[in-house]
């Protein structure tokens, strides 16, 4: 174990929970190797690491979701072992899972109290009391959602808030948050951090995991870095900065790149003209209103916006999943408005969806077949698919987008988040598109993967590919795009050149300028 020198100096404050030499293997995969990890009373310990580094696995072990293969967990001096999450909760350890774990068919109240019903006499559930408490929690997180709204009617962000509310409702002394903010807007994150502060003051110990490094730095007191299941570094807040984290996470330090230059941008590849998309919930309301946008071949455009700005709607409409109510979409100056998804792909317009699990990957197919799914006809001869041609294209795709996998036959589930995202992008690039639009391509993937994805995009641009991507992270707006558009309430509220500052962008998005 190459623990960083800095550990020796600092004398860390009181440890409440500590993991000793934790090992975890999933069959062949060794997810954790001899990990030692401490949680400090009343403080925030942040866990950094690439996709697949083992963060979630470690947390699942600490919260009794899965059992370690070896090693022990020490809570306030004595060694404990959990056979189920409930055991851990009994000892005051709660976890907010990376993947939302809510029942979409139930309402907010039922989800918050699922499995720990408040009963009043003769075993009947006390709905009134539950509803009251749920309401309070929602106020605390100032997200005024009525406790009786169905979870499936909430957007991802709001669902994540419900998830958080549920964790808070258990008012436990150790709270583990595994990427709680992946779908939250900057303002929502602010609120969350306030709550975290209160909890700290109440003496609650917190473990925090996030791929938004700057964000994490705001609240953390201790930083721990995991890499390939090994703990590579520990340091208190005082001794660390972004570079430190990145260095330990991925070895070398690097930035997200800059706008590719040194080539001529081509003619307009994608042209959106006065697009209106009606809101499928509120009749007469538009989620996208009178929006026009031209993208030239070889140009990279970034769309920044808050949750609910309507970016997903815009992109899904351009890709053909939904129909606009007014306006035209021109691809290389042919109107594609009436084409279906397949036809648009054929003509070179592809979408990398926001949610790779739901819209990107086919879990039952191998990595290779996911990669080739969108371009089957390219390796079909006389109506039959040629496995040799397919293998060829799969392998080229795998190394074009640098997917870490043991061959095309590996199952999708064996890939880490970042690599899964690359599969989705690779699938779409394999169709040799003229225009690629990506919705939140960096959601839930680590800086390393993020950098690679952006490198891919700029390479594409050099070859004359028109790129449009959305993001909720301001820092990404300052990386490769030639143009930054800010979207708010379904309209483009501002347009910037690369030189722009973060504050300008956030201001334009109608977001409270913060840290």
């Amino acid at each position: 174990m190459n623990i960083d020198r800095s550990t020796v100096e600092v004398a860390p404050p009181e440890v409440i929970l500590s993991a000793r030499n934790i090992e975890k293997r999933f069959g062949a995969v060794q997810a954790l190797k001899e990990v030692n990890f401490d949680i400090y009373r009343g403080q925030v310990t942040t866990l950094f690491g690439e996709n697949g580094a083992g963060k979630s696995t470690l947390m699942k072990i600490l919260s009794g979701v899965i059992a370690q293969t070896a090693g022990e967990i020490v809570l306030e001096g004595e060694s404990v072992s959990f056979s189920s999450p409930s055991d851990a909760e009994a000892l005051g350890i709660t976890i907010i899972h990376q993947e939302l774990s809510l029942a979409p068919n139930l309402n907010v109240r039922d989800n918050i109290f699922m499995g720990r019903e408040l009963t009043k006499g003769r075993g009947s559930v006390d709905y009134k009391e539950e509803a009251r408490q749920a309401e309070l929690l929602m106020e605390e997180l100032d997200e005024p959602i009525h406790p009786l709204t169905l979870v499936e009617d909430l957007r991802v962000g709001q669902q994540q808030i419900v998830e958080i509310a549920r964790a808070l409702s258990k008012n436990s002394r150790i709270l583990i948050m595994d990427e709680p903010t992946s779908a939250l807007s900057a303002t929502e994150v602010e609120t969350l951090f306030k709550v975290v502060q209160d909890l700290k003051n109440k003496g609650v110990s917190i473990v925090y995991i996030s791929h938004h490094l700057e964000e994490a730095l705001q609240i953390t007191d201790h930083a721990v870095v995991l890499r390939d299941g090994v703990m590579t570094a520990y340091a208190p807040r005082s001794d660390i900065d972004l570079q430190w984290i990145v260095r330990h996470m991925v070895g070398e330090s690097f930035d997200l790149g800059s706008p590719p230059t040194g080539y001529e941008q081509g003619s307009t590849a994608l042209s959106i003209q006065n697009l209106y998309i009606s809101d499928d919930k509120v009749a007469g309301r538009y989620v996208v209103e009178d929006l026009s946008l031209d993208v030239r071949a070889g140009e990279i455009v970034c769309i920044y916006g808050l949750m609910g700005a309507g970016r997903t709607e815009l992109l899904e409409c351009v890709a053909g999943r939904t129909r606009q109510s007014k306006g035209d979409i021109l691809l290389n100056s042919t109107d594609v408005s009436h084409y279906n998804i397949a036809q648009r792909i054929e003509r070179g317009l592809v979408l990398v969806p926001e949610d790779r699990q739901r819209d990107g990957l086919v879990p039952t197919l191998s990595v290779g077949r996911n990669l080739s799914l969108a371009s089957i006809h390219a390796f079909t001869r006389k109506g039959l698919t040629s496995s040799s041609l397919e293998a060829e294209m799969i392998n080229s795709a795998i190394d074009k987008v640098h997917i870490k996998t043991d061959g095309g036959e590996a199952s999708i589930g064996s890939l880490s988040g970042g690599n899964q995202q690359k599969v989705v992008i690779g699938k779409m690039l394999a169709t040799h598109p003229d225009v690629i639009i990506l919705d939140e391509p960096s959601r839930g993937i680590d800086v390393g993967a993020k950098a690679e994805v952006f490198k891919l995009l700029s390479q594409g641009a050099r070859r004359g590919l028109a790129v449009v991507f959305t993001t909720s992270e301001v820092s990404e707006c300052l990386s490769i795009p030639h143009r930054v558009l800010v979207m708010s309430k379904g309209r483009i509220s501002a347009e910037f050149k690369p030189g722009v500052t973060k504050d300008e962008i956030m201001a334009a998005s109608g977001e409270s300028v913060a840290a």
């Binding site: 939302l100 019903e117 169905l150 499928d280």
Partner: protein, 365 residues
């Protein structure tokens, strides 16, 4: 689909606005239409007497349907209810005719209530086997219960050697009389079978809408993994819904046997399909998590009232099939229409179905 929980809410809020509740019932429109049409076509259809008779026919399917609902709410399915009904029926018949224990060569004649209890226990046992296979051996529900469909039927036939028990009336001297009372007599002018159905319905309604167990069922069906992580004993929940389904099948078997004053091993063939149809017409989702007892009952009534209506107006047996089939489909399409009327919920409905597929596929791997 969001609709459903609203219903649930109504109940929770203790709203007693019958009309509203009914109007929210998916199958309600279909039922109204059926009643109107047949009342026009036949003068005898629209009469209390006939409604009571038809209801007593519905009782059997209603009981099966309620049990089925519990299973379907968790995303499972129970194809064995028809066979279980038969097995329990003949078992009850056997007990009522008295059991000899050679060993001590003494015969013993359990009283009706003992018989009823024992029969329900048998039903529960059959259900438990399904449940264990599904919850602990991870056998897909469809397969486990398909197997049980054959096994239970075979058992029923073996038990009776294919014959039918018909002396269920018992014998005053042995104190095991009163069985036929169940199926034949009326309380406050209502056939006992119907009363049993409604008691079962009310109990299940409460269980689903008021108890933690109810919420566990909905959450298991909604997202089993999430439920498990939140401390819901998912496996025990699954096990218990199959037991409930088995017990309901047993009750149905008892009601049927008492109505026919005889118990045969071939009773209830293909009733599982009818029961499922009732649940689905009631707007429940086969992916689990959505559905209410009330709507399932409405579904059962739709089927029952249709079947009897067709016989009353003397439609040929063949056309009866055609109509039944079409009505099942149309009743469900009607729901979709209702949905897309509410554009939002329809869209969500679709979404979740998708998700549920994936979710449950996971559990099937």
């Amino acid at each position: 689909m969001s609709h459903h929980n609203n219903n649930a809410l109504q109940v929770e809020k203790g709203s007693i606005d019958i009309v509203k509740i009914l109007l929210e019932g998916r199958a309600f429109f279909a039922l109204i239409v059926i009643i109107i049409v047949f009342s026009i076509l036949s003068p005898v259809y629209f009469s209390t007497g006939n409604f009571l008779t038809m209801s007593s026919h519905v009782a059997v399917f209603g009981l099966l349907g309620i049990g089925m609902l519990f299973v379907i709410l968790t995303g499972g399915i129970d194809l064995s209810v028809g066979s279980t009904l038969a097995l329990c029926g003949v078992f009850a018949g056997m007990l009522l005719e008295g059991v000899e224990i050679e060993a001590f060569n003494l015969a013993f004649f359990p009283s009706v209530w003992v018989v009823v209890v024992l029969t329900c226990l048998l039903g529960g046992l059959v259900g438990a086997i399904n449940g264990v296979l599904v919850a602990y051996f991870k056998v897909p529900a469809f397969v486990a219960t398909l197997g049980m469909l054959y096994v239970a039927r075979g058992a029923a036939l073996l038990l009776t050697d294919g014959l039918t028990f018909n002396s269920l009336s018992g014998d005053p001297t042995l104190g095991n009389t009163g069985f036929e009372w169940l199926g034949f007599n009326k309380l406050f002018g209502i056939p006992v079978g119907v009363l049993i159905l409604f008691c079962a319905a009310v109990i299940c309604m409460l269980a689903l809408s008021r108890t933690p167990f109810g919420r566990w069922i909905y959450s298991t069906g909604g997202n089993a993994r999430a439920a498990e992580l939140s401390g819901v004993p998912v496996n025990r929940v699954k096990l218990s819904v199959y037991i409930i389904s088995g017990v309901c099948a047993a009750l149905a078997g008892i009601v049927l046997a008492s109505q026919l004053t005889s118990a045969g091993p071939t009773a209830g063939t293909t009733y599982e399909l009818t029961a499922i149809a009732a649940v689905v017409i009631g707007g429940a989702s086969l992916m689990g998590g959505r559905g209410t007892v009330r709507n399932t009952l409405l579904g059962a009534f739709v089927i029952g009232f249709l079947a009897d209506g067709l016989v009353i107006i003397g439609v040929s047996a063949y056309w009866q099939m055609v109509f039944t089939g079409s009505v099942i489909v149309f009743a469900v399409m009607l729901n979709n229409v209702q949905y897309s009327a509410k554009h939002k919920s329809s869209q969500q409905a679709e979404k979740t179905t998708e998700s549920k597929r994936e979710g449950s596929r996971a559990s099937a791997t």
